[in-house]
């Protein structure tokens, strides 16, 4: 029975190829790497097809394999490329974060009320802006952040796989969150709140 649910390798490409590609592209931000990840995923799926339990849908099963492949790629990159990139290091560094606060440690600019989360999440437009704000983060920081927040990878596992300390990870996630927040504040939420005030 499971065989018929899983279908043939050819059908994986037809039925799930675009979704896998989209997912891979979102995380790798690179067409070639996305293609590579999808290919690796389908080849691995071919090899492991006997282990498909039929409990999950074929799509979920394939996405699970794809996640592993993407993490593998990141891990490989982390080893290949030197870790410190001056441009990335400069993004929201300690000085810039300090500048968000006045010397006594209070916020320099009042934080904004973002409105009803349920309502915002239902709007496709918000998700588009969220995606654009993610794209605006420096690549390596974005990748790490998405690994944690979008792929929901375990913190401990990320530290192990990318050979960084927990403190290091927390600092980077903090910087990414501040950056994303700033971008959302400027591009969406601020407008929504102002529009609501005018209306």
């Amino acid at each position: 029975m499971t065989g018929s649910i899983l279908g043939s390798p050819e059908s994986w490409l037809d039925e799930h190829g675009a979704a896998l590609y989209k997912y891979a592209l979102m995380h790798t931000r690179d067409q070639h790497r996305a293609e590579e990840a999808v290919q690796e995923t389908l080849l691995a799926a071919l090899q492991a097809r006997d282990r498909f339990s039929g409990g999950a849908s074929a799509r979920t099963w394939l996405i699970g394999i794809l996640k592993h492949k993407i993490v593998d790629m990141f891990r490989h990159d982390a080893r290949e490329v030197q870790l410190e990139d001056p441009e990335e290091e400069a993004y929201l560094d300690e000085d810039e974060i300090d500048a968000m606060f006045i010397p006594n440690g209070h916020w320099r600019v009042k934080t904004a009320e973002w409105g009803d989360p349920e309502d915002l999440l239902e709007r496709g437009q918000f998700m588009e802006i969220l995606q654009r704000c993610l794209d605006a983060l420096p690549p390596r920081l974005a990748r790490l952040f998405m690994l944690r927040e979008v792929m929901e990878e375990d913190s401990e596992k990320i530290c192990q796989e990318l050979a960084i300390t927990p403190t290091n990870l927390w600092t980077m996630l903090y910087r990414a969150r501040l950056g994303l927040r700033q971008c959302l504040d400027r591009n969406w939420v601020g407008h929504a709140v102002h529009a609501a005030a005018r209306g």
Partner: protein
């Protein structure tokens, strides 16, 4: 007393690890008196939820993305080759 800067960092780390007792107490006290950090915490939780949703949405996404036909073809070939290879061995 925590500063807003300290508090913002703890709010972020609260999403990563279980804060220590004194950290939790300090943060709770700070949030009790600081409306800006309360809003910041809501923003962080909201972003957290939105990002998860983005991930889920990507998993169920259909053909809304352009999957380059050349890429599809190359993968199809690789799959076919592997299948053939498996049959002959």
């Amino acid at each position: 007393m925590l500063t807003c800067k300290d508090a913002s960092r703890l709010i972020s780390e609260n999403l990563e690890r279980r804060l220590g007792f004194w950290e939790r107490m300090g943060l709770r006290m700070h949030l009790w008196i600081c409306v800006n950090c309360r809003r910041f915490e809501r923003q962080m939780n909201f972003m957290h939820a939105a990002l998860r949703k983005l991930g889920k949405r990507a998993e169920v996404a259909d053909d809304s993305t352009e999957f380059p036909p050349e890429a599809r073809e190359r993968i199809r070939k690789a799959l076919a080759e592997r299948c053939e290879h498996d049959h002959t061995h």
